[in-house]
């Protein structure tokens, strides 16, 4: 689209030198983003149980022990292992929280996006401003506010309190994703449907919902992964017997660095990346 000026010779040389430097810079930026994660991936296969920075052969032991399988390596120290039943339990907790919180938030966030995109009402600006606050408020402020509230209101800290806590910011997140979708959508079909005598509910079910579905699905998947990975808010509002996977990893890290953490981290990163990729794909898809 942009009009290109015919570059003079000296200009052309300057531009190409500039873009070579920019390429190197951009590539190093990507290395900065990904090298730390690749490092964990490599370490997770390193048999050296003492110093991960020194390679002493390939092993799958760290993965095997996560699932309660016997390690194959001879020099395996049993003190390094976490109880697989415990891991299973925290993963289950995390999935329950992430699925419920993202499902509820998708419904609430989508409803809110429809209201602000398709209706004029008193206080709309205020609503739109309010919807940004839970996302921008530092996690610790929201976490302790919820802790004080739940304890004061007599809630027992449990999976339910975590789900409620996650819904407050995830709804706003889904709202933003679905709003973007609604804003880029052609309203002619909705108008036609209304002209033909369909009520708002029928129009929504038959026209609007199918058209915004990719945005809704994208919002759901991104909310799911944000909930699954949340550390700080969960940290304050989880009960003693309702640990989630990130809290389990936090406790593991506080006890010290062990090779098993690498294996667990790799599995979690892979899962997060797969779900987030799907979410980003749906969010950006055009109809």
């Amino acid at each position: 689209m942009r009009p290109e000026r015919e570059p003079t010779v000296s200009n052309r040389r300057r531009i190409s030198r500039g873009s070579a430097a920019l390429n190197v810079y951009g590539a190093s930026f990507l290395v900065f983003l990904y090298a730390p994660l690749v490092l964990i991936f490599v370490y997770s296969f390193n048999a050296n149980p003492i110093n991960m920075a020194i390679w002493s052969g390939f092993t799958l032991d760290w993965y095997r022990t996560l699932f309660g399988m016997q390690p194959a390596g001879a020099a395996f120290d049993a003190a390094f292992t976490e109880n697989p039943d415990r891991i299973y339990q925290v993963v289950r907790n995390s999935l329950i929280v992430a699925l419920s919180a993202s499902a509820i938030s998708t419904a609430i966030g989508t409803a809110t996006a429809l209201a602000t995109a398709r209706f004029q009402f008193f206080g709309k600006k205020l609503y739109q401003a309010l919807l940004f606050l839970p996302m921008i408020m530092p996690d610790i402020v929201l976490g302790i506010a919820l802790l004080i509230f739940f304890v004061g209101a007599g809630f027992k800290l449990s999976l339910l309190t975590i789900i409620i806590g996650h819904c407050t910011f995830l709804s706003c997140y889904v709202y933003v994703v679905v709003s973007a979708r609604l804003a880029s959508m052609d309203t002619a079909l909705e108008k036609a449907s209304a002209d033909l005598g369909a009520g708002p509910f029928t129009t929504f079910r038959r026209i609007t919902l199918p058209l915004i579905m990719p945005g809704v699905l994208g919002g759901f998947l991104l909310a799911f992964i944000i909930s699954l990975d949340d550390v700080v808010i969960t940290y304050f509002i989880a009960g003693v017997d309702t640990q989630t996977l990130p809290l389990f990893i936090l406790a593991m890290l506080r006890r010290g660095i062990r090779p098993q953490i690498n294996a667990l981290a790799v599995l979690l990163i892979v899962f997060s990346f797969v779900v987030a990729s799907a979410g980003l794909y749906f969010r950006s898809r055009r109809t």
């Binding site: 990507l30 920075a53 209706f119 506010a145 709202y175």
Partner: protein
């Protein structure tokens, strides 16, 4: 068939139905908890955790030196930690801005598919678990970690460089964790940049630096400002990064709040610190909103002048 009046009534009902869930959710589980935090900040700490329901402004005295009473003393340490947290948040903003700004131009010059893939690649690490991203830097920077092992085996160092539990480690961690928030708004404004203006400036004989300062920088300023705000705010409250990479050397305000709630069990004082952060966030957001409004009306005036 439904007449226009029934449709109007149905629309009102639909709107009420759509807005009720979010109103209840944010009203009960967001606004009320934040309100209670503010109330707690002026209550008296109970003997064993808990609170006493009487007006007690001295938590603020302990933090700011006024008002004092009921045995609370001014502890300048907290002001220092607060200022230190502001400094770390500011450094995080500066470093991530410097890292992201050129990359935004790099990506904006790519063509279709490559551009989308690159945007995806830069967004994706944000979805890796926060703890794991911090843990990776722990592996890299600790005395027996990757960087030290590599440098020592190459003979560059003869004893490990001490990177852990330093300012440097905390800034690196904060930048790494928050960088996608800086990149995306900057990229959005670089992508919208009108290159014909840059061209015109060069044609009129401006030096590259003049073009940058007078054209590129002002036009991308909204993205820069947006990125700075949404990096600064979470950096201000973060306590996970300093607790792993800063150890006991680097204490930020988030660490103090966490301790007030989970160890010292002085909830009112913790609430006071939290209220101060909340107030700073509201102030920053307000200034940002005013700034954006000001700049957009200034731009409109300029456009009107040039016609």
């Amino acid at each position: 068939m439904s007449g226009p009046r029934t449709i109007e009534r149905e629309r009102t009902r639909a709107l009420a139905l759509l807005l009720t869930p979010i109103t209840l959710l944010l009203g009960i589980f967001f606004l009320i908890p934040l309100g209670i935090t503010i109330v707690y900040s002026v209550l008296e700490p109970g003997l064993y955790g808990g609170v006493v329901w009487s007006f007690y402004p001295y938590n603020y005295g302990r933090l700011f030196g006024w008002p004092l009473g009921a045995g609370e003393e001014f502890e300048p340490l907290y002001i220092q930690i607060l200022l230190n947290s502001l400094k770390y948040a500011l450094l995080t903003v500066i470093v991530s801005l410097a890292l992201c700004y050129p990359v935004a131009f790099w990506v904006s010059r790519m063509s279709g598919m490559a551009k989308n893939l690159m945007l995806f690649a830069i967004t994706l690490p944000f979805f890796a678990n926060l703890l794991i991203r911090i843990y990776a830097w722990l592996l890299l920077m600790r005395p027996t970690g990757t960087i030290n092992s590599a440098l020592m085996s190459l003979g560059v160092l003869d004893k490990p460089l001490n990177m852990m539990f330093t300012e440097f480690a905390v800034i690196v961690g904060l930048v790494y964790v928050l960088i996608p928030f800086m990149f995306l708004p900057i990229y959005a404004s670089v992508e919208r940049l009108d290159w014909s203006l840059v061209q015109a400036s060069q044609d009129l004989g401006a030096t590259p630096f003049q073009t940058f300062r007078r054209i590129i920088l002002p036009l991308t300023a909204p993205g820069i400002l947006g990125g700075c705000v949404i990096v600064f705010i979470p950096a201000l409250g973060n306590f996970i990064v300093p607790s792993f990479l800063g150890g006991s050397k680097v204490q930020l305000i988030g660490n103090v709040i966490e301790r007030q709630f989970l160890q010292a069990r002085n909830w009112p004082f913790g609430s006071t610190l939290s209220t101060v952060i909340m107030g700073s966030v509201m102030l920053i957001v307000l200034l940002y909103a005013l700034g954006m409004r000001g700049s957009s009306s200034r731009a409109a005036r300029k456009r009107a002048d040039s016609v």
